[in-house]
Amino acid sequence: MAVLEFFGRLLLGFLEGLGRFFVLLGQTLRGVFRPWDLRALAAQMIRVGIDSVPVVFLTAFFTGGVMALQTYTGFARFNAEGFVGSVVALSMLRELSPVLTGLMVTGRAGSAMAAEIGSMRVTEQIDALVAFATDPVHYLFVPRVLAAILVVPMLVVIGNATGIAGGYVIAVRILGANPVVYLSNSFQYLEANDLWSGLIKAAVFGSLLSLIGCQQGFDTRGGAEGVGRSTTSAVVLGSLAILIADFFLTKVLF
């Protein structure tokens, strides 16, 4: 019985959270079509972007490198070493760069949004916004969500380039691949769709991680401890949402 109740509660909590998410999503979307502050958007873009560039850079570089190492080991078994470059480029653009960038930005910026808005909640700053006739969802969510939608694809472009560079360095410097052949193979089989599908994913991930970060912060309850909880769940839920959305997006965008 207790087990049933436990899972029932878990499910209810999940559905409630999901419902709440869509309500706030709707309010944010409506907010986008009301005048908003361009300076606030710019400030958020700088924060999300600058915060995340170093980690995206490092993550993509080493992931590209490890992809080259791993595929080389496998492909060498059937004399297809020449295609290492193509595989690295393709998987970076379509899959690894968007997902890893999304996860990294969730850890840096999504959590920061939850912490900032959460502490505004517990110190009554959100009440103060409302008291001054300001819609807090419009004021706080719209610039953050728009910034993430715009910035995450830019970061993914950086990730694509560094990932391919990482693969190149490993392949050419360590595995002794021919630099010219490697590079031409990297780009020869790429299609425009590979880039675009990755960027679309990135924009969706950006909207998910920022909305979840904002929502977790906004619904914070109970002091400093509550802010900590919100920050953690912004990262956990944001990452989960990205991985789940990735599957469905891949299915749709193939």
């Binding site: 110190t123 700053q125 009440d127 103060a128 409302v130 008291a131 001054f132 006739a133």
Partner: protein, 254 residues
């Protein structure tokens, strides 16, 4: 001639979980009246104040501002009603991402049509009033608790709202600062004739700024009298409060 009613609360009920904080509370405040609300700590004074601007919605009962039902109005209208208020929060609730000047400018930017230069002048003026001239560029985190409260007070009066709500404006201030703030309130009353609701534990402050003094106890207003009569009331609850005598209040030791 009777002044028109600005704020009317009728049958207000609010509970947090099992705890009934407001329990059928009625209160009417006419234009230009300064009412002070007294009550033991944790009795729900702040909760009552938050109901007036619609920061909390009642479980039952009605909040009317200038004859309009706050919670029956569409949200645009509700914000319009809110823009008639200026509220100073118990803990200041300053926006900690903005400096002091931007904090005080916030209601001016959002709720008035003042030009930037006039906003700057008005901000300086308000800081003078609370004896904190020239601290515009300081961040809230660099201020003491009392300074933050005074900046919160300055932010509440900046846009010269018609209805002022002060949640313990003088708590934690030294006697000289308290006197200065009382003078500011007197001056406001004389110049702008606002409707004013003040929460305080300081009876001296209460009796010097109030037209009416009300006592909140167990979720209702149990006394609502002019200061003189309040001071000399024989009602046991009121008398206990005025004399600060825990023996006289039957609920005091629980």
């Amino acid at each position: 001639m009777a002044e028109p009613v600005r704020v009317r609360l009728s049958g207000l009920k609010k509970a947090f979980g099992p705890k009934k904080v407001l329990d059928g509370l009625d209160l009417t405040i006419e234009k230009g009246t300064s009412i002070v609300i007294l009550g033991r700590s944790g009795m729900g004074k702040s909760v009552l104040l938050k109901h007036m601007v619609g920061l909390l919605s009642p479980d039952a009962g009605k909040v009317e501002i200038d004859g309009e039902d706050l919670w029956k109005s569409p949200s645009g209208k509700r914000n319009n009603l809110r823009s008639r208020f200026g509220m100073a929060f118990q803990e200041g609730a300053l926006f900690d991402s903005m400096n002091v000047g931007e904090n005080i400018a916030f209601p001016l930017r959002r709720l008035t049509k003042l030009k930037p230069a006039d906003i700057k002048k008005r901000v300086a003026e308000c800081l003078e009033l609370v004896h904190l001239p020239g601290i515009e560029s300081k961040l809230p985190s660099e201020l003491s608790g009392g300074m933050r409260r005074r900046v919160g007070f300055a932010r509440a009066i900046a846009h010269q709202p018609e209805i002022l709500l002060f949640d313990e404006p003088t708590t934690g201030l030294d006697p000289i600062m308290t006197d200065a703030l009382v003078r500011v309130i007197d001056e406001l009353k004389r110049r702008l004739d606002p409707t004013m609701v003040t929460i305080t534990h300081d009876l001296k402050v209460a009796f010097s700024i109030a037209d009416r003094v009300a006592l909140l106890n167990n979720g209702r207003i149990v006394a609502d009298l002019p200061p003189r009569e309040f001071e000399s009331s024989r009602d046991p609850l009121v008398a206990a409060f005025v004399r600060g005598d825990s023996q006289l209040d039957p609920d005091a030791v629980d």
